[in-house]
């Protein structure tokens, strides 16, 4: 199965963190369901054009977070995510995305007021 994770080479964020963030988002949003078998480390690395060292690190980190489990001989699976965890991680995810947007905006010379206005504007057009 192909996991929709994409690497952004213009980002200063380390590759393993990029992959982790996207994989985490796929799991907590439920796009990757409980019990889904992930590709082997070598296979995933080849898909992403990154090294097995990175994928191994991603799988290990996410096992420690309780999102993945590896069964010897069978592979790495998505575990059951409790609703509470889902909510908390979802918030963390959005918080991070927003921080990145804010940083980027500041570096382009935007100020707080302009940002708040734009945010409001985008929200309004959605309704």
């Amino acid at each position: 199965m192909r996991i929709p994770v994409q690497i952004n080479e213009n980002s200063a964020e380390p590759l393993y963190r990029q992959v982790e963030n996207q994989l985490r988002a796929l799991i907590i949003s439920g796009q990757l369901e409980e019990g889904t078998l992930l590709p082997s480390i070598r296979e995933f690395a080849s898909d992403l054009k990154c090294s097995v060292i990175t994928v191994r690190r991603v799988y290990q980190d996410m096992e420690n977070e309780g999102l993945l489990r590896t069964r010897q001989g069978t592979g790495t699976f998505v575990t059951r995510v409790e609703q509470e965890t889902r909510t908390r991680m979802g918030e963390e995810n959005i918080r991070q995305l927003m921080s990145e947007t804010i940083n980027r905006s500041y570096s382009l010379g935007w100020n707080r007021q302009q940002l708040e206005q734009l945010f409001q504007e985008i929200l309004d057009t959605r309704e």
Binding site: S11, A12, L15, S46, K49, I53, Y106, L108
Partner: protein, 322 residues
């Protein structure tokens, strides 16, 4: 994290991994130049790509690892074992080799016959796996090897090397001249072989797509020297291209120039500057503090390798080539 320390460790070899091959001060004089002294170890269970210009000593290194060339000085160990004179059979049986050009000796044999011949040398030979590979990758078993296509021939060579169940597979530009279909099969074959067990691959290549698809570590050779070994993904993010437009701010320009990690500073006629740096973050912060906008881009593999050579020259005090 202290970046310098990590880099130094990577230079010697992966610190926390077992090594299949260790080179200590290995030197070999060639007709035109000297290869070495080489100090390096090959990490176990990984694919390491050996890259560098032609004539820089990659094949010399590979032949020393096969013991078809002996070093003039220094020491090589295979699986923790050093060798005097010829390589003992039980060690040689753990190593398989595929080169760009297959040997002519087997031209008058079929794939099946050649495999039978080779299997006598390798006690771990897996005939079932060999046949499965021929079938999966469309290699005729009963045609003469001289009569099949270059792609089929190279796939036979790879299948035979993998079926020998080596612990170390040495590949010298195996994809040179392969069509894209055979090339893709080769990538699949090698990835599948890595899934099975305790295999280590060292591959020389000029195809960056191959480094991307296969490698875990990258070793760069330049003018007979090993510039270092890096985890592929760290290398990929090691240097960034940063564009700034400092305008007339002389003070800010001075601060930016003093930022660490800069290996290239290229001022354009329109006042913008293109900078190559290993520390884009510090540069970006410094620029932002002065209200200067930055744009950061990743580099192509070819450019990254040039940066690596340049960085190596700066560190070893040879001065930068352009």
């Amino acid at each position: 994290m202290n970046r310098t320390t990590t880099y130094d460790m990577k230079d010697i070899g992966a610190a926390d991994m077992e090594s299949v091959i260790v080179l200590k001060d290995v030197c070999k004089g060639r007709r035109q130049h000297m290869v070495g002294p080489l100090n390096w170890s090959l990490p176990q269970g990984c694919i390491t790509a050996l890259v560098g210009e032609n004539g820089t000593g990659k094949s010399t290194l590979l032949h020393m690892l096969l013991r078809t060339l002996y070093p003039d000085r220094g020491e090589i160990s295979w699986f923790g074992q050093t060798v005097e004179g010829e390589m003992p059979l039980e060690l040689r049986q753990q190593i398989a080799y595929v080169s760009e050009k297959p040997s002519r000796e087997e031209d008058r044999m079929t794939a099946r016959k050649a495999a039978q011949f080779r299997s006598q040398w390798y006690p771990g030979w897996d005939q079932q796996q060999f046949e499965q590979m021929l079938q999966a990758f469309d290699v005729p078993a009963d045609a003469l090897l001289s009569k099949i296509s270059k792609g089929q021939r190279q796939k036979f060579e790879l299948a035979a090397a993998i079926a020998a169940q080596p612990r170390l597979l040495l590949l010298d530009e195996p994809s040179s001249g392969l069509d894209p279909f055979a090339w893709k099969d080769m990538i699949v074959m090698l990835n599948q072989a890595m899934e099975q067990g305790d295999l280590t691959i060292l591959i020389t290549t000029h195809r960056m797509e191959e480094v991307q698809r296969l490698a875990d570590y990258v070793v760069l050779m330049h003018e007979g020297q090993i510039c270092g070994m890096q985890e592929k993904d760290e290398l990929y993010q090691q240097w960034k291209e940063v564009w700034i437009n400092p305008g007339q701010d002389v003070q800010a320009l001075q601060w930016l120039r003093e930022c660490p990690g800069i290996i290239e500073w290229d001022g354009k006629p329109d006042g913008s500057v293109r900078i190559i740096t290993s520390d884009a973050q510090t540069l970006q912060q410094t620029a932002e503090e002065s209200g200067i906008i930055t744009q950061v881009h990743g580099l192509e593999w070819e450019e990254l390798l040039s940066c690596w050579v340049k960085d190596h020259h700066l560190k070893t005090g040879k001065g930068a080539h352009s």
